[in-house]
Symmetry: C2
Subunit: 301 residues, 2 copies
């Protein structure tokens, strides 16, 4: 069997998929906590293997797809850099293949998410499109003629580290004012901490917002407005027909996406003289990266 | 004969070209002042025709290529919006064809510049690349597999109106904090006005800087650093192998591009773990748009 594993800043998510097209679905999944940014490379790789083996549940693995945040090289061998993971110039694909004893394919998480949405989700009919995943940070992918554009070194789509505030908030990547400092799970937690003086994690804020809590809804509106402003810049740059949003933070749906739509309309040059692209949820939501990784593992045979 | 005409915020530049590849050159040119943002559409169109006819100098025109700042539609019929020109949802191609009595092709100025650099300039060997033109504002084009990516509506590459400072300087486009407010001919003039209390236009500042004037050089360094910071965001997003810079402000060369290279290296996520693309001058410099428009007119027959 093939398993897809998504490696994010707070957790490792592994999935088993079945079916195809509109029938494609996640039939089982497993989640293990990320050992953290200060963990060793080996601890992170162990967590990836553990999640994959938990989904396999004793069945024989034949291939594993790995979806990683950060800068993955064009050949899918290395994770060069990730603000939220310990890997630095690490040969992740070969290490995991050795650890698991099966073929492994490695790709950037948002590229994997776009792969899943192209195959069976919200990008099935897309020509020019953008995929944005909002979790611990922001991941991104550019779709052109129905394919993911990888860039000269495989690193296209790293929208999260575009500076949106000069001398702004310090980012884990070492820079200041990166978009993901204002629009991400971490940003959501910070907004709530400022408002309440106590720590809630993303899922807790989402639960409050769904229950109608005013402060939690305002926190999503703040993050969502930043999402829309950032998307406006990307629309000026790429002129996509649609923008698909996935990742854990997007699970609240319109509580995030409606403020984003308003932010986009307000911050887009010449908005009244052009078509404004829709902002739509990823069909596979927070699981899109893992699903895309599983699909790539299947495609690799 | 074919003529290429570039319509910018302060002037209309028409060129006649000859030769091809490394031998391609501008053999004559003419320049007329832009009537200004508050002029009528007809006055701007008259200026375009005047510049084309001045280059023709009595010879018979067979086709004209027009390179315009702003949002040009995918079919090259309309200028939808431009912060620095009066056209709003204007059928510019057909109007100019009628006025001049010859076939006219219309495209965005930075797309034209990229077309020229791909055919015979700094983009000849490029696969993934970005073209940035800095004049009154900023124009941009995205090159993929040796071709200009047009986006869903033909409007890709409008980098100048990406917000880089929240609630920043008011932009002619109606938004605030657009990149071109910090990195353009207008920005250069503003920096000098603040430093000196008097107005100098871009070419005057460039002449001072070439003569070693400290304040003028610092003004280019300020604008160049903003250029580099903006390019860093585009590199994160698109991962190009090279960034080509043209437009009038780029005529000073390394006085602008060296600060941009430093700004890029400082503002790029994971810079020490990746290849940093070069920032190189456009071969056709401030004339790239007009040259590309002429080439497109020739190609159209």
């Amino acid at each position: 069997m093939h398993v897809g594993v998504d490696v994010g800043g707070t957790k490792v998510l592994a999935v088993e998929i079945a079916g195809e097209g509109d029938g494609l679905e996640v039939v089982s999944s497993a989640q293990v906590p990320m050992p953290g940014r200060n963990a060793s490379d080996a601890e992170v790789e162990r967590a990836v293997a553990d999640a994959a083996l938990e989904v396999a549940a004793g069945r024989t693995l034949t291939g594993v797809g790995v979806s990683s945040a950060g800068l993955v090289d064009r050949e899918g061998e290395w994770v060069r850099f990730c603000a939220h993971l310990p890997w630095r110039d690490a040969p992740v694909r070969s290490r995991l293949a050795e650890l698991l004893g099966v073929p492994v394919v490695l790709d950037n998480d948002a590229n994997c998410a776009a792969y899943a949405e192209l195959a069976a989700g919200s990008l099935q009919d897309a020509t020019f499109a953008l995929m944005i995943t909002i979790g611990t940070g922001i991941g991104g992918a550019i779709v052109l003629d129905g394919r993911v554009v990888r860039g000269a070194n495989g690193m296209a789509g790293e929208f999260g580290h575009v500076q949106v505030v000069p001398d702004g908030l310090a980012c884990e990547c070492g820079l200041h004012g990166c978009w993901e400092q204002y629009c991400s799970g971490r940003a959501l937690e910070r907004v709530m901490r400022v408002a309440l003086g106590s720590h809630l994690d993303g899922p807790q804020v989402a639960a409050l917002a769904r229950d109608g809590d005013r402060i939690a809804r305002e926190a999503f509106a703040t993050v969502g407005t930043w999402l829309g402003v950032g998307i406006a810049g990307l629309v000026s740059a790429y002129d996509p027909e649609v923008v698909v949003v996935g990742g854990g933070v997007s699970a609240v749906g319109d509580l995030l996406l409606d403020p984003a739509r308003h932010g986009l309309a307000r911050a887009l040059q010449g908005a009244e003289h052009r078509t404004i692209p829709g902002i739509v949820p990823a069909r596979f939501g927070p699981e899109a990266g893992a699903v895309g990784a599983a699909l790539q593992a299947v495609a690799a045979g």
